[in-house]
């Protein structure tokens, strides 16, 4: 991974964490999981898969460190989501809508895993009011953001203006 890509990835993750913990935490209807979305979008870039899994793990760990749930929970979830994204990413660039749906489905898998593993480990802090609604709202929000930002994000990270033109 080139230095510029590293800087871009780190900056995008920090920006996602800051926006997620401030702007989107104050809205009840539009509640994306920005960090998970960045991880999913990174899987569409040319970064090596092994590195991507590491990035996903560290991104999850960063959110764990800032949250109140057990350390390592999101790290595991984000790593699994990244792996699934890597296994299915060739289907994501068929069209803009497909990309959005792909990101939405992966987010859904991620949040279900988060709640399931959290429940198994007794993390009541993740199971507050509206958890069932959030299982739907978070993937929809990520789907919408993916529709808008995936092509731009991939082009910036890869520095490839031809990426994701949906030919």
């Amino acid at each position: 991974m080139r230095t510029r890509s590293v800087v871009t990835v780190v900056l995008s993750l920090v920006l996602a964490i800051v926006l997620q913990t401030t702007l989107f935490s104050q809205n009840e209807l539009f509640t994306p999981d920005l960090v998970m979305l960045v991880v999913i979008m990174l899987c569409l870039t040319k970064i090596r898969p092994e590195v991507l899994l590491g990035v996903a793990f560290i991104a999850g760990l960063a959110v764990d460190l800032l949250g109140s749930a057990v350390l390592g929970l999101r790290a595991i979830v984000f790593t699994i989501v990244a792996y699934l994204a890597l296994r299915t990413r060739e289907r994501a660039d068929i069209g803009r809508l497909i990309t959005g749906i792909w990101a939405g489905v992966l987010t859904f898998v991620g949040v279900v895993l988060l709640v399931l593993i959290g429940t198994l480990f007794g993390q009541t802090v993740l199971l507050g009011e509206g958890v069932v609604e959030l299982l739907v709202l978070v993937p929809i929000a990520n789907l919408i953001l993916a529709l808008i930002f995936v092509p731009l994000f991939v082009r910036v990270v890869d520095r490839d203006s031809t990426a994701f033109r949906y030919a």
Binding site: G54, F57, L65, L73, T79, G122, V125, L127, G128
Partner: protein
């Protein structure tokens, strides 16, 4: 089309990371959030807190404006309801002021002096939440403002919110009682028990062991003197369903007064008070004699015989 299949090392990498993740989870649970993990969390918070505070300065007004626009109809109704509530509270305030004056009068009469009841209070702004699922709140005050792990948090009306889970120099994380990992010792009337968080709702389950009397909807639930997380007497919520004891135990639902997700300001209490700090020796409090008069028309007025 993308044609970059995961390499041969992807699966071993995944498995290794999952094992590391599970070990971290086990370690964190076993250490109960203290030690190395606590230091790591504080460090991460210290790094991100300035960015969050900066972002909160910009996004909070934007988010509030957006909320106001989307909720303009309900805001009008809310304003009317709040106005009615203000009128009612004004009336109660007059009654409470009268009680207070009477209380001070008795204090003087019997030469009583309240000690240790004044808790240090640190108001703080809620700057965010970790994510949509995590019910914790991040506030803009931390250890440099005197906040320490475990301190109770109330809202500006004095209702119980939660307790401090993590603290860094410039920020702290609060876990509300509605999602907290453990219950809160409470009292309903003269019966004591515990309120516990529930899944997918802010309502809490009230369990009264050794219950002898029924409880009724609308009864106030406050923290009990047996609580190790809150001072006694902090209002928690109200009972929302009548219940009678069966086999010495009583279970019912409690609606907390506070909805944590809507909080913008909270107050951190310095409780328990620092046991090392001595009380001011030989402190004398001079209170002006106060008398309460009840005129014939039934209204009550308070007169201070001091310099007022």
């Amino acid at each position: 089309m993308l044609n970059r299949q995961p390499g041969n090392r992807t699966l071993p990498t995944l498995i290794s990371l999952l094992v590391i993740g599970l070990l971290l989870m086990t370690f964190d649970i076993r250490s109960e959030g203290t030690g190395v993990t606590s230091t790591l969390r504080s460090g991460a918070q210290a790094i991100v807190a300035p960015l969050q505070k900066g972002a909160a300065l910009i996004v909070t007004p934007v988010a509030d404006a957006f909320d106001s626009m989307t909720n303009v109809v309900s805001l009008r109704e809310q304003n009317l309801a709040l106005q009615a509530e203000i009128d009612e509270l004004d009336a109660r305030l007059v009654a409470i002021q009268d009680d207070l004056a009477l209380f001070e009068f008795y204090e003087q009469l019997y030469d009583l002096e309240a000690t240790g009841s004044e808790l240090g209070r640190t108001p703080a702004q809620v700057i965010g939440q970790p994510d949509a699922f995590d019910g914790a709140l991040i506030i803009d005050k931390g250890s440099s403002d005197g906040i320490v792990v475990g301190q109770p948090v109330i809202d500006t009306s004095g209702y119980a919110v939660g307790s401090v889970l993590q603290v860094s120099p410039g920020s702290a994380t609060i876990v509300p009682i509605t999602v907290g990992p453990s219950g809160v010792a409470v009292a309903v009337g003269n019966q004591v028990g515990e309120v516990l968080p529930q899944v997918n709702t802010d309502d809490m389950r009230l369990e009264l062991s050794e219950a002898e009397e029924p409880v009724f909807a609308g009864e106030r639930v406050v923290t009990s003197s047996g609580s190790v997380r809150f001072p006694a007497g902090i209002p928690v919520g109200e009972v929302i369903a009548d219940a009678a004891p069966g086999n010495d135990t009583l279970n019912t639902q409690v609606r907390p007064y506070v909805e944590p997700a809507t909080l913008r300001l909270v107050v951190v209490l310095a409780w328990p008070p620092d046991p090392i700090t001595p009380l001011t020796p030989d402190s004398t409090t001079t209170t002006a004699p106060t008398s309460t008069t009840v005129p014939e028309d039934g209204t009550t007025s308070t007169t201070s015989n001091g310099d007022g």
